[in-house]
Symmetry: C2
Subunit: 368 residues, 2 copies
């Protein structure tokens, strides 16, 4: 699989550079989204997505950012006033929680230090203390800290021990980090097109279990555009409820073909090895990583900067002088770290350029 | 302006064939949506969109179908239980009304026969009879019937006489049919990328007046992804609240450049003349149009079929034998008519092919 060579070395956690075939697929002539031809493509994309989610649950494609599908995970299972537990390990976990509050859901937050993963024992105690909780929100891979939470263990507690609905933000994990939707009994799993699915941004995907459908039948959150009941009705006809982003579907179709022809397991293994290499190279420069190795993400690495350095200065310098675009720290981590995205295959030359650029930029920022 | 030549002659009311430069723009390398470069592009697109909307109101771009932005028009101005008037002249007017009901808004419907436009006197009487109405929903151009409602006169009643909030579905009119947002005092105007903006589907645009912001401050509909308050905060930084469909923004940027370099007025004039020509050619085949000339849409023409003909048979034949894709009748009009979309410049050869195809197909369907 080859990747689009950018003028910039785009190393943010998303959007990620896409394979050139994926980019080019966007230029296919537009077709009628109520045609047989479209239905054939949509069904094929959904079949392939299920092989990425590792699920037999329903899978739907939304014309929206990942955030739109996160909202769909809530409005299709919960009602205003329902009590839920939001497990927060960083900026995006907090945002998922804030979204639930904006939707008038009664949110109990379980906060962990940003940079740490979920402590399973504390999660268990919290669920014991709050028996009225209906659902648990978890961020699988916390993009702001470069931490992957142990979703398998979390699920064992949430599902097997307590039988709660499990809603998973997998925006930066699906396709990039191991995620077994059915084996781990995840009721709702949400991802965006622009990360592990190697597609330009603008589409989101969501898997929805039988238990989630039971919750759907009972819930009364006002909704229309995100109403998965409408999606299900139209999907039976091989259609989307509303005019879809057809050119992005062409791109997603091509990206899924590439990923599955390489094999999901080897695609994820490759990214794991690549992440090990990037982390070790960054450490060799004398920089510390935010996450412990045990829970370090294979899709994004958060790198701490020396105390007297503003990480944003480093980010600016990398961009201006070296054409390398990395992510800034978010929320309370702003200025304290930068984030290197490495979803998909990163060409060796780009990794080398990154290390050289980082080394030079760091020296210059420190001596400034 | 040249247009993408499809293998199919795509003559549905949307998505519309896009100029090749617009299609190609999607392949530009993806960039960081939190960068200066992105901010520059976003601000430029919004400036140009204001020249299409003819407004100084806020304009935002949503990563969603037009339907998502229609939902935004409701959740940002209304609360559950608020009473509104939904003016329905066809399938899409009904859908806008149904959406409001799904959002638990108290909807008073004003129904007109499908194929007719809004009767201003009846609208006035309805507003007199229901003084507790907060907002009025209007479909500017009803895609299902090929009727353009007289928005200027409607606004005069709704705004000048009654001072209600005016929410306009302009999905199939903006860029294609005259629409003066500020002069006609439209509070909220919604459109999709895939029609008069000559861009692939996946983006929606919305204009939002000062009065709409006043309603926003008071309303309490649960929302997050569509919360225009978040959009406003991020727009001040030249950003979108959530990861946007970057490649579609590239396309929209290019399409706006093409439309404005031709001039909005002459672009719309051209479509008006083209619509006249298409209507007269269809009539020469002995077919009747659903809409009266007085209110006939310049973006889509609904054509009635002889009584003993199933319009869907004609649509199938046109597609299979002639490679011409037209729209079917929707809702209660299913099987009774077909719809020819003619947004943007339709190449003369395609119009000729359409007329020849229609003539042959009609003969064959009748003699079947």
């Amino acid at each position: 699989m080859k990747y689009q060579r950018e003028q910039q070395n785009l190393r943010i956690p998303g959007p990620v550079p896409c394979p050139p075939e994926v980019i080019d697929a966007q230029t296919r002539p537009l077709i009628d989204h109520r045609s047989e031809e479209f239905a054939h493509m949509l069904k094929s994309i959904v079949r392939r997505l299920k092989r990425i989610f590792l699920t037999e649950n329903d899978v739907f494609i939304l014309t929206s950012s990942g955030t739109g599908a996160l909202e769909a995970s809530l409005v299709n299972t919960l009602s205003p006033g329902d009590k839920i537990l939001a497990v927060v390990t960083g900026f995006f976990g907090q945002r998922y929680s804030d979204m639930a509050k904006a939707l008038l859901i009664d949110v109990q937050e379980l906060q962990f230090e940003w940079g740490r993963d979920v402590d399973i024992e504390i999660l268990r105690k919290t669920l014991v203390a709050h028996p009225d909780i209906k659902a648990v929100l978890v961020t699988h891979n916390e993009t702001s800290t470069g931490v992957t939470n142990d979703l398998e263990s979390i699920s064992r507690v949430v599902k097997k021990e307590f039988g709660k609905l499990l809603l998973v933000d997998a925006v930066s994990s699906l396709g990039s980090v191991e995620l077994k939707t059915d084996e781990w009994e995840c009721d709702v799993v949400v991802a965006g097109s622009q990360k592990g699915l190697l597609t330009p941004p603008g589409l989101a995907v969501i898997s929805f279990s039988e238990s989630a459908w039971c919750a759907y039948e009972k819930c009364c959150m006002p909704k229309y555009y995100n109403d998965l009941g409408l999606f299900r009705t139209f999907m039976a006809l091989g259609q989307t409820a509303f005019t879809p982003a057809i050119s992005l579907l062409y791109a997603l179709d091509k990206a899924l073909e590439l990923i599955l022809s390489e094999g999901l397991v080897s695609f994820i293994d490759m990214q794991r090895e690549q992440a090990f290499m990037i982390r070790s190279k960054v450490r060799l420069l004398g920089m510390e990583l935010l996450a412990e190795d045990r829970c370090a993400s294979h899709s994004v690495t958060a790198v701490k900067v020396p105390k007297n350095v503003d990480a944003d200065d480093l980010v600016d310098l990398l961009r201006e002088e070296f054409g390398i675009v990395v992510g800034r720290g978010q929320g309370r981590l702003k200025g304290k770290l930068f984030r290197v995205g490495h979803i998909g295959k990163v060409p060796e030359q780009e990794i080398q350029d990154l290390v050289v650029g980082l080394s030079s930029a760091l020296t210059r920022v420190i001596s400034k």
